[in-house]
Structure formats: structure tokens, C-alpha cells
């Protein structure tokens, strides 16, 4: 048997079948990885297809006016209702019918919540068609949808490219990234994880129009709406139409939506028009949107809470929490918490009561301090107190850790020093939440969602203390886990800090004896840390107030003086080391000392008293050397000095 005959025989047929199979696998791999359809639609479809038949209470269909509004895991956690968002970014209104048809193949008894916002713009592009169709299972529904959409798309579509999306997208081979190879369901029930959704906040007040007027629909809107209603009627689909509160600038667009609402209500369908209900929902157009069409995670939580209550009131779905077969919904909530925790506060997630009359306190600054981070804000009216939240960010991976409450401050406070477990060299973000109470209920106000950041340096060691042992100042401190060593600082009061000693952390007992003090002088001590990286020593902060070593007190000033020719008295004294300043007193007629001039010097050691007292022929003075330590002032008085006419 020749080689060719062998190849053409049965073995050859098998061989060629294997070749074709391998070729198909290769082409499919290319097709899959080069596809550029929005990965959110993959999550939406793959998540939907993984739901058990007839297990959903509702399916919420729409474009990107669904996923930033409806967080299904949160609603599940709150109510036990399984409402799946089949949210396909860029979904053309014309495709809603087909998506619903596809969904009803496995969820025939579910309520279908249909977003009418998709009727705003009837134009769509071929890439939008891909976003809708590429991850949909192959079926007659998909084929009819593509055919229908192709006939009305803004540009010509090649039917082949929907069977093989790489026909359109293969040019992006040089732009592929890891995400293009990842096809695993997130398990988040299509809840949004979009970065802008989580982290951004934009004011949309300028893009907002409200009207109750209606206008005639354009022919395409009318045709698509009629087609959709016909399908719903023929198939007896249980539907709820919803208009989500987007910021729509064009008045006629709002009027068109109003007209659609009117048509549907007149036809007896349930319509929930929330276009003008932002306030009722608690949405702020200043901060709850990441752009005019999409809520951010904070707005999403508010909208979800509103919608879940509406659905509970009107549709009475069974609470399925704990029921067999819904474990993945519980998991979805746990997973989603990991996503939203770094961007939301505990009371938001817990659906705590809110008072939106409490404005967001403007954060003035966040500065690093030797002891921690100092947050300053401008107080707002009606706040009983402020909760200060903080989170950290891993700069190398741009990953935020969950917000945590750092502490609270009184209602009249305007700053908070966060010292608890503040790590060095870490990026911290702080936000301040105004809180008040009413009838025992805690009400949280608005707050800055993003917060303000500070990068900490190396922290000073904790519990620095100063003791005297045999008249020698001894400084103690707690060891630091992050420092490579410690530096001890000292200064004579009124002068500059000097680093007087350094210890490597591993060699240090965290104690320093200072044998080199001059008796009778006040010293201040402080301890800082340092790090040693790449042959460079970086010194961290240390307490600038320091600890005072002043066992003997300041020396008292020694006075001299004279009566001047013009009758004024000139008082002089010696400089006192360590004094912050001097106070000059004069004894009055009753024998009491009266301060006639304070806070002199410390570089000036002279005072001329020009006040002439008629009742006395002599004047008695004393001067104190003052040592100021924090709010405390320690005065060391001189002996009295009497000046008379004879002293002229």
C-alpha cells in the first residue's frame, strides 16, 4: 500500500478529521481571544446561563442603565430575592425583545423588568451589536436578532463577523492583555465592578432636565415599542417597565420617555418612572453619579435599596435566603463585599438611616504627624459628631483596602489626630461623616466618597518617657516593628533640635542615658526612627514638643536698675539659658505684683518703665524667667529690686 493510498484510506479520513478538529479548535481560540466585545456582557450572559431553570424572581434587562443601578447581590442579601440584571452595555432598544426571548427560554416565569432608558437613542453601531450578541448562545433568537439589528445599524455589518468576531477584531492582536484570555464567571451576578463606578463621583446637575411634557415618538421608537409590546402580549410576559434616573439634558428626550410611559400605562402595563425621583431615592446629583448616565457605587446602593423595597411591596417575591440551590447568591454577596468594601462605608452597606440634610464636611487637609495623621475639616451645621473613616491603598498594585472607622470627634471639632495603628510609608485616605441622632436613631449625612490622602513617613516610637536616674536623664521608648534604628534628639529650650545618638534597632534596648547635660539647664528630649534602604538613611518624624528635663528649674534673673534723668526706670538683668522669655512685674500701692511688660526676649534683657506714680517715691520690680512647655508656663522670679529718686 503506497503512502498516498494509506492517507486516502480510512486512517486518512480519521487523520483529516483530527486535523480539521485541531484547526477548528485553533480558530475558536483565536476567535475567543481576539473578540473585543465588552467583557461585562460576558459576565452578564455567562452568569445568566449558569442560573438554574426557573430559579429567578426577575430578570432586569437593559443597557448600561441597569448594572450601575442594580446590585443584585446586595438586593439578595437584603431581601432574599433573586433579580438578575441582564445588563448589556450599549444594548439597542431593538434588541430588548430578543434578549427577553433568550432569557425566557430558561426563566419563563420570571418577572421581566425592562429598562426604557434604552429608547433614548435608537442609533447603534456594529460594535454595540457585538457587545449584545457575541456571548449569547447560538440560537435562532440570536440569528434573528442579528438580522434585525443589521438591517437598522448605523453602519454596514457583515453577518460573518457575528459568527467569527475576529473578522472584525483581529487587528487588535497587538493590544491583547491578560484580561482577553480570562473567561471565568465572576460569580457576582453581573454586579458592576467597573473602576469608574467604584471610584468616581461627578456632578451632573448641569445635565439634568425635568419635564412632564410628552412628544410624539419618532417612527423607529414607535415601531420598536410596538414590536416589543406585541411580543409581551402574545407571550403573556409578566413585565415591569422602569426608567432609571439618569441625568438627561435634552428635554425632548425626557418628553419622549414620558410618552412611552403614557403609552404603556394606557395599555395597562406597570411602569416605574424614576426619572424625576432622584430626591425620593436619596440620590445626590452632586456626588452619586460617575457620569450623567451612570450611578456610582454609592448611588447604586441607594437605588438598589429603593428598587428592592418597591419589588417587595408590589410583587411579594419569596425570601429564598437559606433555600437549597441559592448558595451561589450568598457567595455572590460575599464576593461583592470584597469589591465594594474599599469604596463604601459600613453604614452604607448596612442600609443605615440617612439624613441628606447633613452636608459633606469639606476636608481641609490631611497631614502626617509624628504621632499619626491629622485630619482637618470644616464643620457643618447640625452634626452632633463626626465619624472619621480611613482606608489604605497599596500603591504598587493600586488596590484600596476597605474603609474602617478611625474614630469620632465632637460636633464642634474641626480636626482629628489618628494615631491608632498608623503604619509608616503608607498611603492613607480619610473621609469625615457628619452624624446626628433623632429619637435614638443614628442618621448619617453626606460625605466625601473619595476622601483625602496622606502618605505617612516613618513613625516615631511609641511611649517615649523620660526618667531621672542618679540625676541623669534617661529616655525610654517602645520598640518599633518597622524601624531599622532609632535616633535620640535633644535641645536646649529655645534652640534647635540636635540628633545626639543613633542605635540600630537590633542593638538597641530602647533606652538612652544622657550623661552630657549641663546642670541647671532645661533640656527637651525626643526619639525618632530611621530606615536604611539602598545605602540611604531616612529619618522619620519625632515629637517636636519633646519631653522636658528640668530638675532644678531655671536660674532666677539677677536684677540691676536705676532711675533715669527723665524719671523713667531702667531695669536690667542677666541672660538666663533656657528661658523662653521674661516677664517684668512692679509692685503696686497695695503690695501686689502687677505685670507691666510680658514675653520679653529671650534675646532682650532690659525693660524701661515709663509710668510715673505720684503716690510713691520708690519703685519695686521683679523679673521672671519663663520656661514654656506646651500650654504650661513655668516662671522663675528674681529678687525684688527697689529703685528710688536717689538712684538717679
Amino acid at each position: 500500500m503506497s503512502k498516498n493510498e494509506k492517507r486516502n484510506g480510512f486512517g486518512g479520513i480519521i487523520q483529516k478529521c483530527i486535523f480539521i478538529l485541531l484547526l477548528l479548535v485553533s480558530v475558536c481560540a483565536v476567535n475567543r481571544n481576539l473578540s473585543n466585545a465588552d467583557k461585562r456582557t460576558y459576565q452578564a450572559w455567562s452568569g445568566f446561563y449558569s442560573e438554574r431553570n426557573n430559579s429567578l424572581d426577575a430578570v432586569y434587562i437593559g443597557a448600561s442603565n441597569v448594572y450601575p443601578f442594580w446590585a443584585a447581590p446586595v438586593a439578595w442579601h437584603d431581601t432574599g430575592n433573586a433579580v438578575y440584571p441582564l445588563s448589556l452595555p450599549g444594548l439597542p432598544a431593538r434588541a430588548i425583545k430578543y434578549v427577553m426571548e433568550e432569557a425566557r427560554k430558561t426563566q419563563p416565569d420570571a418577572l421581566y423588568i425592562l429598562s426604557l432608558n434604552d429608547f433614548k437613542d435608537m442609533n447603534y453601531s456594529v460594535p454595540q451589536m457585538h457587545d449584545t450578541a457575541d456571548y449569547m448562545k447560538v440560537s435562532g433568537t440570536k440569528y434573528r436578532m442579528i438580522k434585525d439589528l443589521s438591517a437598522h445599524a448605523s453602519s454596514e455589518a457583515d453577518p460573518l463577523e457575528f459568527a467569527f468576531p475576529f473578522v472584525r477584531y483581529h487587528s487588535r492582536w497587538s493590544e491583547l492583555s491578560t484580561i482577553d484570555y480570562v473567561y471565568t464567571s465572576s460569580g457576582l451576578k453581573a454586579a458592576s465592578t467597573y473602576r469608574l463606578f467604584l471610584a468616581n463621583s461627578n456632578k451632573v446637575t448641569d445635565n439634568y432636565t425635568e419635564t412632564e411634557q410628552t412628544v410624539v415618538l419618532n417612527p423607529e421608537q414607535q415601531e420598536v415599542l410596538d414590536d416589543l409590546v406585541d411580543y409581551i402580549r402574545e407571550e403573556s410576559v409578566h413585565v415591569l417597565f422602569v426608567i432609571a434616573p439618569q441625568a438627561i439634558k435634552n428635554e425632548s428626550t425626557v418628553a419622549q420617555l414620558n410618552m412611552i410611559v403614557k403609552i404603556l400605562e394606557d395599555s395597562g402595563y406597570d411602569v416605574l418612572n424614576l426619572q424625576s425621583s432622584a430626591d425620593e431615592i436619596g440620590l445626590s446629583r452632586l456626588i452619586d453619579y460617575y457620569n450623567e448616565n451612570h450611578l456610582n457605587v454609592h448611588g447604586c446602593l441607594k437605588f438598589t435599596r429603593y428598587m428592592e423595597r418597591y419589588l417587595q411591596e408590589h410583587y411579594h417575591f419569596t425570601d429564598k435566603r437559606g433555600m437549597a440551590g441559592y448558595e451561589d447568591w450568598d457567595q455572590s454577596y460575599d464576593l461583592y463585599r470584597e469589591v465594594i468594601d474599599p469604596f463604601t462605608l459600613d453604614f452604607e452597606r448596612a442600609d443605615a438611616e440617612r439624613d441628606y440634610s447633613l452636608l459633606s464636611p469639606p476636608i481641609v487637609s490631611v497631614d502626617k504627624d509624628a504621632q499619626g495623621n491629622l485630619v482637618k475639616w470644616t464643620p457643618v451645621a447640625n452634626a452632633k459628631y463626626y465619624d472619621i473613616y480611613r482606608r489604605t491603598r497599596d500603591v504598587s498594585t493600586d488596590t484600596y483596602m476597605p474603609w474602617e472607622k478611625a474614630g469620632s470627634a465632637e460636633g464642634n471639632a474641626d480636626q482629628y489626630l489618628d494615631t491608632e495603628n498608623v503604619l509608616p510609608d503608607t498611603e492613607y485616605w480619610y473621609t469625615v461623616v457628619p452624624v446626628r441622632e433623632e429619637g435614638g436613631t443614628i442618621l448619617y449625612g453626606h460625605f466625601n466618597y473619595t476622601g483625602k490622602k496622606v502618605m505617612t513617613g516613618q513613625m516615631a516610637p511609641r511611649n517615649v518617657s523620660l526618667r531621672s536616674e542618679n540625676d541623669v536623664p534617661v529616655i525610654y521608648w517602645d520598640p518599633s516593628d518597622t524601624a531599622d534604628g532609632y535616633a535620640v534628639y535633644r535641645k536646649l529650650n529655645g534652640q534647635q533640635w540636635c540628633r545626639i545618638a543613633e542605635f540600630a534597632a537590633e542593638d538597641s534596648d530602647c533606652v538612652y542615658y544622657d550623661y552630657y547635660t549641663e546642670p541647671g539647664l532645661p533640656y527637651l528630649y525626643s526619639v525618632g526612627t530611621y530606615t536604611y534602604r539602598n545605602y540611604t538613611t531616612t529619618y522619620g518624624g519625632y515629637d517636636q514638643k519633646g519631653l522636658l528635663w528640668n530638675p532644678q528649674g531655671l536660674q532666677a534673673p539677677v536684677l540691676s536698675g536705676q532711675m533715669m534723668e527723665d524719671g523713667n526706670r531702667d531695669i536690667l538683668w542677666e541672660d538666663i539659658k533656657g528661658a523662653d522669655y521674661y516677664n517684668v512685674y512692679r509692685m503696686d500701692d497695695t503690695g501686689k505684683w502687677k505685670l507691666i511688660k510680658g514675653e520679653i526676649g529671650p534675646s532682650v534683657q532690659r525693660c524701661i518703665d515709663r509710668q510715673v506714680l505720684e503716690t510713691a517715691g520708690e519703685y519695686t520690680y521683679r523679673v521672671s524667667a519663663v520656661l514654656k512647655y506646651g500650654d504650661e508656663e513655668m516662671e522663675y522670679y528674681s529678687q525684688p529690686l527697689i529703685i528710688t529718686e536717689e538712684d538717679k
Binding site: 486535523f19 484547526l23 480558530v27 475576529f166 473578522v167 477584531y169 483581529h170 497587538s174
Partner: protein, 531 residues
């Protein structure tokens, strides 16, 4: 339905399926039907022009053959009756009648080509003269029938062969229609000879899987050259040529070189597809390229580039001209005036010059193409004219022409001349090409365009440049292997199964991923399809 469309692949598959399912003797009918369907899909009612041209050629050849046969019969019947003088006179009359028929057929065929392709060029240039007397020729918006430049030469060559008695005329009109319309070659050649192609078309070929797979390999190779290399390079070439006045220095030469890559990958890729498709049906088309960039002279380049056009010009223009009485007379006179050596070569020079003038104008109705032809003609004629002096100089300089370095130098020199010639064929016009010449030598030493981002300013990023460089390297490597006589497809077939499959699947995946096609791109039509 271009060669690089999925529709064409499906079309070929359906045609092949039909071809191999009907009796062998009738299989040519499938090819005829497929060819006319293909032509109709691409050109709609212009298929009538093809049919009329076919009919004219068929009738002319029949007439020529008829005159010759009648003359032969007459002489045979009157063998003893006619005197030698009468026979000679009769033969001259027959030949004259045949020639008249040939001239008529040729003029009509070339007339159709001229009207469709060159009329407006003629009118525009004549109007420059006529405008002074207040008269202008109107311009016509005629559609150019697909492949007219190719099938017209094919038809004229066929008629001349019949006239020369080298070829019996085809008596079956439908079979002749197939010869004139065979779909893989009608778009951009190769320009076939009847004796080389016709029998293959008519005989009917059996199903041979190995041959079909070999054809598919050739198609894949052609697609790779066209879609991955030619169209990718085309973006850069257009970016520079379309704004050529904005550039100075060697970037213009680089654009010319890249255009050379583009046109080679495009044309030879198209040829490979045509040959691959033909192979599926058991038909071997003539080679149109033989590693042209391995040429050591311009003259050799044109023997390796578009071989069937060169062959056609040689057989139907060069030899008839250079061996004509007129040129012989001219040679005689010039020998007397300029010496024996020059006078002997003069007919060749003139014929060569005319051939390249025609090659130039064949490419299109534009002065730039005429200049393109003349550019090549000048170098070829000079090469012949100064061959002795050149050899003498080399000898004096002690240069061994057999060394690899000298061979490489000659290849490089040819490449440079050909590249400068590309200025004419690709530039917007003759004057634009001349300006490019001038601008190439302005700041030619400034090579900052290599690093300053100019090369990635045409929508071709670094990754795409990498594909281009690898693509050029692969094409050169394959050419090198061919030059050494290695038959790559046979080599691949001899490899272990896994290796073969890796190559096949890899080639397909490369085309799918790196090819310039689909809605994201405006895939370019084949360059020679426009000629």
C-alpha cells in the same frame, strides 16, 4: 468577490466539488460556467465585452486558419498546374489575406483595450494641443472590464500564433471561451499561451488529494503574502507617497523599497492564489515570478518579474520588430555610419526600447508609467551597449565577478535601480516622481526619521513593524530556497505529520490574526488587478 474573500474560497470549493462530480470529459464545462459566473459577479454586464472579445478572437483565428487552409488546399489541388512563380504569388496573396485578417482582429482587440483604458489619456493630452483651436475631445466614463489588459494580450498572442501556423485554431467556441475566461488567471494573469494552457483546461482531471492539498498550500502562501505583508506595507507606502512633497531624504527611498516589497508580495501572492486554485483543478499555470530580487541586472530582473508579460513582449513585439525588414535596413545604414558593432546592435536597442515603452504604457494610461518603462529601457539598453567597456573596467580593477560579495553588490545595485524606478510607478504623477527624485537627495544623510516616530506615524505600530520585518525575512528566505532549487512544498510534505500540521495550522492562524481584512480594514485590491 476578490481572491482574498471568503466568498471566493467558497466559490472555489463549490466549483471544485462540481468539477469532480461530473464525468471527466465534461469537466471543462464546469470551469467555463465557473469562469463566466465569476466574471459576471465581479463585472456584471461587462461580461459581454469579454464575450465579444472572445468571439472576435475566435472568428479571426478561424478566418486566418481558414484562409491558410484554403490556400494550402488550392496549392495541393493545383500542384502540377501552377508554375513556381504562380505558386509564389498565390502564397503571397494568401499570406496577405491572413495578415489582413490578423491585423483587423488585432486592431479591433487593441482598439477595445485602447478605448476602454487609454482613450481618456489620449483625449486629455490631445486636448492640450487642440484647445488652441477651440476644439476638444470629450472624455468618456467607460468602465474598465476586469482583466482586459491580460486577456487582450492573450487573445492577440493566440491570433498571431494561429497566423504563424504554430497553433491550430480552436474550433469549439465554448472551449475557446474557457481559454479566454479561465477565472483564476483572468484577473491579473499570468498571460497564458494557448498551447500551454488549453489542453490542461479541456482534458478533465481526476481527483487527487495530494495535488489539491498542494494547491491549498500555495493559496495559503499567497494569502499570507497578500494579507499579512503587502497590505500592511501598503499603509506605510501610501502614507509617504500620498504626501511625498512633505518628505526629504532617504525615507523616500525607503518608501520606494517598501513599495517594491508591497507590489512583489501583492502580485506574486495573487499569482500564488491563482496557481493554487488552478492546481486544485489539475491545471498548472505558468510561473510569473522567479525570485526577481535575486537579479544581478535590470535586464535579468525583467526576465524574472512578470515573466509571462516579458515573454509575450519578446515573442510578439521584440522579435518581430528586431527581425523586421525595416530594422534590418536601419541596421545596415547605421553600420555604415556608426560602425559595425553599433549598427548590429541598433535593431535590438530600438526594439528593446519600444518593448519597455509598451510595458510602461501597458501598466496604465499615464505619463508616469511611460517614464517607468523608459527608465527600465534605458538601463537595459545601456547594460547591453556598454557591456564590453564594463567588462573591461572590471578586468582592469581585478574584480572577480564570481565572488559572492560581487554578486551581492550587483543584486543590491539592481535593487537600487529598480527601487528608483518604483518612484514612477507609485507616485501620483510624473512630476511628483521627479520631485521625489530631487527630494531624496536633500538631507539624505539625515536618518532621524528612523528613530523619531515617522515610521510609526502611518497607523503601523511597532508590533506591526515587527510583522513586516518577519514577513520580509520569510519571503526572502523562501525565495532564497527556491533560488537554490529547493521545492519547499515537497520538503514540507516530507516532514512528520505533527510538523506539517503545525505549519498548516500556524499559517491559517497567522492569516486570520495578522491578515489585513475584515470591517476594521479597507483591504486593498490587488495592484495588478488595476492594470
Amino acid at each position: 468577490m476578490t481572491f482574498v474573500s471568503l466568498a471566493f474560497m467558497v466559490f472555489v470549493a463549490v466549483a471544485a466539488a462540481l468539477y469532480f462530480t461530473i464525468p471527466v470529459s465534461k469537466r471543462w464545462i464546469v470551469l467555463l460556467a465557473a469562469s463566466y459566473v465569476f466574471y459576471f459577479i465581479n463585472s456584471r454586464m461587462l461580461v459581454l465585452v469579454l464575450f465579444v472579445s472572445t468571439l472576435i478572437t475566435y472568428l479571426t483565428a478561424g478566418k486566418i486558419a481558414g484562409i491558410a487552409a484554403a490556400g494550402k488546399n488550392y496549392l495541393k489541388e493545383n500542384n502540377g498546374v501552377l508554375s513556381k512563380e504562380e505558386k509564389k504569388k498565390y502564397r503571397a496573396d494568401v499570406k496577405k489575406k491572413s495578415r489582413n485578417a490578423l491585423v483587423l482582429g488585432t486592431v479591433v482587440m487593441l482598439g477595445i483595450l485602447a478605448a476602454a483604458k487609454y482613450y481618456n489619456f489620449f483625449a486629455v493630452n490631445v486636448n492640450l494641443l487642440l484647445v488652441r483651436i477651440g476644439f476638444t475631445l470629450p472624455r468618456l466614463n467607460l468602465l474598465l472590464p476586469l482583466g482586459i489588459s491580460f486577456y487582450t494580450l492573450q487573445a492577440v498572442g493566440y491570433m498571431i500564433d494561429v497566423y504563424r501556423g504554430k497553433q491550430e485554431p480552436e474550433t469549439n467556441l465554448f472551449r475557446f471561451m474557457l481559454f479566454m475566461s479561465f477565472f483564476p488567471q483572468i484577473v491579473q494573469g499570468p498571460i497564458p499561451r494557448y498551447r500551454q494552457l488549453a489542453d490542461q483546461l479541456y482534458e478533465g482531471h481526476s481527483f487527487d488529494l495530494q495535488r489539491i492539498l498542494s494547491g491549498i498550500q500555495l493559496i495559503l502562501w499567497g494569502l499570507m503574502k497578500k494579507l499579512i505583508l503587502a497590505d500592511r506595507v501598503g499603509a506605510i507606502v501610501s502614507g509617504i507617497y500620498d504626501f511625498s512633497d512633505s518628505y526629504t531624504g532617504l525615507i523616500l527611498f525607503a518608501a520606494g523599497a517598501l513599495y517594491g516589497v508591497q507590489v512583489y508580495a501583492d502580485f506574486s501572492g495573487g499569482m500564488d492564489i491563482a496557481r493554487g486554485v488552478s492546481q486544485i483543478f489539475g491545471i498548472e499555470l505558468e510561473l510569473n515570478f522567479r525570485q526577481p530580487y535575486h537579479s544581478s541586472s535590470v535586464e535579468e530582473f525583467w526576465r524574472r518579474w512578470h515573466i509571462t508579460l516579458g515573454g509575450w513582449m519578446r515573442d510578439y513585439v521584440f522579435y518581430p520588430l528586431s527581425l523586421s525588414k525595416t530594422f534590418a535596413s536601419l541596421s545596415k545604414k547605421s553600420r555604415e555610419r556608426f560602425g559595425a558593432s553599433f549598427g548590429k546592435k541598433l535593431p535590438s536597442f530600438l526594439s528593446m526600447f519600444i518593448v519597455y515603452f509598451l510595458v510602461g504604457i501597458w501598466h496604465g494610461p499615464n505619463w508616469k508609467y511611460i517614464a517607468y518603462g523608459i527608465w527600465n529601457g534605458i538601463f537595459i539598453v545601456c547594460g547591453i551597449l556598454f557591456a564590453e567597456q564594463y567588462a573591461s573596467v572590471l578586468k582592469k580593477c581585478g574584480i572577480d565577478e564570481e565572488t559572492e560579495s560581487w554578486k551581492f553588490f550587483r543584486m543590491f545595485r539592481t535593487f537600487v535601480i529598480i527601487t528608483f524606478g518604483r518612484y514612477f510607478s507609485r507616485a501620483a504623477g510624473l512630476f511628483a516622481a521627479l520631485r521625489m527624485f530631487k527630494n531624496t537627495f536633500i538631507h539624505w544623510y539625515d536618518l532621524s526619521w528612523i528613530t523619531n516616530g515617522s515610521l510609526t506615524a502611518f497607523g503601523v505600530n511597532t508590533a506591526n513593524w515587527a510583522v513586516i520585518i518577519v514577513g520580509i525575512a520569510v519571503v526572502l528566505w523562501v525565495d532564497h530556497l527556491h533560488e537554490k532549487g529547493i521545492r519547499i512544498r515537497e520538503r514540507i510534505s516530507a516532514q512528520p505529520l505533527v510538523f506539517r500540521w503545525l505549519i498548516y495550522i500556524g499559517a491559517i492562524v497567522c492569516i486570520l490574526v495578522f491578515g489585513i481584512y475584515g470591517p476594521s480594514y479597507n483591504a486593498a485590491v490587488f495592484i495588478y488587478e488595476q492594470f
